[in-house]
């Protein structure tokens, strides 16, 4: 035990006395994540504001006489050009394609007359056609706005003209106040958003932390020839392995906490209110213990996965190559939870390492993790991690692995 304690102390001292390492492992990634999300958020809101502020260029062909009146009523702002039916629209559709012009609206010829002369079923109904470019943000917004404000209002006013009392057509209302009708468990609703995102983030962050640190602390030491001096001390190889794994676990957890906090802060900037929902999540003490237990076994598993690769690799470069497939595996396991339906999964799914960590965390966040599922998850993760530890200890005892002999 003394040996393990000594090694942990040394490993932690090593990291925390190296300013460059502290910056590159903890501070820089955290700051970068925050900055990245903040910039993304800033750009998105700028884009939205820009679209809102843009005054669209609209061409209207065959506009009925009273149409200008409607445009005034809704106070539609846009550079509007009216075209006669004889004018060619080719140059305008061309402009829409290029993004110079935002919208072309074409009324059928004799629009008003056709409406006036409508008598019974089968009589002609005139059409308004809009031409826009959905890949252009301005054009897309212009079409939406024009339809919703101008054309809808025009339609309503013509309906009123035809029937006098427009309420006769309404017959009944559907949800005059939609928000009042939402019945939801606030904690579960916010859990749902986070349940999709958080397991993925935590998995990735944990593995990333373990990856950077593990390769330096094991392959790096092997490469620098400093591991051999530890192998010469009168302690068991398993003590060295546990000392390394525990210190890696501590550092990995720390970096995961920093990364996750940065992501959460960053996302808050990104989407404004979305993570305000987080305040609604309430954990019971049992859930907190469950989450904690799961995080610990996950850290243990990831650290031992990386350590096993790191101990076999001869150089850090080699270790980097070997660890990439594992990284992809972890990503895959956690991405799968992002796109799975809420359907109840059988208990056997909770025995699949990596994947089970993500789905169990997802269940926990929406309050649906049963004790059985929790038990199977933690048990299978711990079992795999323990098997890996045995393999690592064996590698530490192998002269071929340690001394390339």
């Amino acid at each position: 035990m003394e040996g393990i304690k000594n090694i942990i102390k040394k490993e932690l001292t090593r990291v925390f006395t190296d300013k460059k390492l502290v910056i590159s492992l903890f501070i820089l990634p955290g700051v970068l994540i925050m900055v990245m999300y903040s910039i993304m958020g800033g750009l998105i809101s700028n884009l939205e504001k820009d679209i809102e502020a843009h005054i669209p260029t609209v061409y209207i062909q065959n506009a009925p006489e009273d149409f200008g009146y409607i445009i005034d009523i809704v106070d539609y702002s846009g550079h509007i050009t009216y075209l006669a039916s004889s004018d060619s629209t080719d140059s305008i559709t061309d402009g829409i394609l290029k993004g110079d012009i935002d919208l072309l609206v074409i009324f059928d010829e004799d629009f008003r007359e056709t409406i006036q002369s409508y008598k019974e079923i089968g009589d002609a109904i005139p059409e308004v056609r809009t031409f826009y470019n959905p890949t252009e943000d301005y054009s897309n917004a212009a079409k939406g706005n024009f339809t919703a404000s101008v054309l809808y209002t025009y339609q309503q006013s013509l309906l009123a003209e035809r029937f006098g009392n427009i309420e006769q057509l309404q017959i009944f209302h559907i949800d005059r106040n939609p928000d009042a009708g939402i019945i939801v468990d606030e904690s579960k609703a916010s859990g749902k958003f986070l349940a999709m995102l958080l397991p993925f983030l935590i998995n990735i962050m944990l593995f990333q932390g373990a990856m950077g640190l593990g390769m330096d602390s094991i392959t790096g030491e092997k490469e620098r020839g400093t591991l051999a001096s530890m192998l010469l001390s009168p302690i068991k190889r398993s003590e060295i392995v546990f000392g390394k794994l525990i210190s890696l676990g501590i550092l990995t957890s720390l970096s995961a906490v920093i990364y996750t906090v940065s992501v959460v802060i960053g996302i808050q900037r990104l989407s404004g209110g979305a993570t305000g929902l987080m305040g609604n999540i309430k954990f019971t003490p049992v859930q907190i213990i469950q989450l904690f237990a799961m995080l610990i076994v996950l850290v243990y598993l990831y650290v031992s996965m990386v350590a096993l690769v790191a101990v076999y690799a001869r150089t850090q470069k080699e270790a980097g190559t070997y660890v990439t497939p594992l990284y992809i595996l972890v990503m895959l396991g956690s991405i799968m939870t992002m796109f799975s339906s809420g359907a109840e999964k059988g208990i056997e799914y909770y025995a699949i390492p990596i994947y089970n960590g993500a789905i169990a965390m997802q269940d926990l966040l929406v309050g649906e993790l049963t004790m059985a599922k929790f038990g199977v998850t933690v048990g299978s993760l711990a079992l795999v991690a323990f098997l890996l530890t045995t393999l690592i200890t064996r590698a530490f005892n192998s002269e071929r692995v340690m001394f390339n002999a």
Binding site: E2, G3, N6, I7, K10, T13, R14, T17, D18, E221, R224, G225, T226, A228, S229, M230, L231, L232, S233, P234, I235, K236, E399, R400, M402, F403, A405
Partner: protein, 258 residues
């Protein structure tokens, strides 16, 4: 005391190593039925050209490698069955085993002292002695990364002796050292011998072996071809000095191998 009985060490070669060494055999015998005994109060020198198997022998004694055949005991402890006790007894130094460059000699000394089960008081006392002897005090708090190679060697030396081992194993002790540091090291080895410790070193430098070693074993292609004091070896080979003696033996045994 170190007792080696019929030590044979065979390395399995990977395909890559086979092409590198231009051999079709997937096994390489680094040491072949080697037996020797190094006694307390003497410096035993393993002399041989590069690749003769000196380092392999020393690493087997230090429990880093396991013998393919034969056995080794250090102070009565078997290097395979009782490796932890062997490691308590020995101090092992080689150029390939280094101290973590991120730490100071002072920290490393304490770290390895604790791994050897020493308490802080014992570590402080021992550090005072060794750092004073090797002149490490001036740079004991500097990062090892910032030290010159001579300083690094001194620090490694002091750290490997933190637990005051009874058996000292040195692989090429003066390799890469300047003349003053080298003299410092060899003087210290003599001091250890005079204190009654068992010292075994490997070297390919004839003069070092002549001046330093009480007994010399010449190793060629993994075989211990002769053993004895300098005078005995010179007499056996009818040579004027160790270099002549070595080449006499080399002519005979290197041919046999082919």
């Amino acid at each position: 005391m170190i007792q080696i009985n019929d030590l044979t060490k065979v390395y399995k070669l990977t395909k890559k190593q086979m092409t590198e060494q231009k051999t079709k055999k997937n096994m390489m015998k680094a040491v072949d039925k080697l037996s020797l005994r190094a006694k307390p109060g003497e410096i035993y020198g393993l002399l041989g050209p590069n690749g003769a198997g000196k380092t392999t022998v020393l690493r087997c004694i230090a429990t880093l490698l396991k013998p393919t055949q034969g056995d080794i005991t250090v102070k009565g402890y078997d290097t395979v069955k009782d490796s932890e006790n062997v490691r308590k007894t020995i101090g092992f130094l080689t150029n390939e085993i280094k101290l973590d460059p991120q730490f100071s000699p002072r920290y490393m000394f304490g770290f390895f002292g604790r791994l050897h089960g020493l308490n802080e008081e014992a570590i402080d006392k021992r550090r005072e002695e060794l750092f004073d002897y090797f002149g490490i005090k001036d740079f004991e708090d500097k990062k090892i990364d910032e030290l010159s190679s001579g300083m690094k060697q001194k620090a490694s030396l002091a750290v490997s002796l933190v637990h005051n081992p009874e058996v000292i194993i040195f692989d090429e002790p003066t390799n890469g050292l300047d003349i003053i540091t080298a003299r410092n090291v060899t003087d210290y080895l003599k001091l250890l011998r005079n204190e009654g410790k068992t010292v075994i070193i490997s070297t390919h430098i004839m003069t070092e072996a002549e001046k330093l070693c009480d007994r010399i074993g010449i190793i060629i292609n993994g075989i211990l071809v002769t053993e004895g004091s300098l005078a005995e070896i010179l007499e056996k080979t009818d040579s004027k000095d160790l270099e002549d003696a070595f080449f006499e033996l080399f002519k005979i045994y290197n041919k046999e191998e082919e």
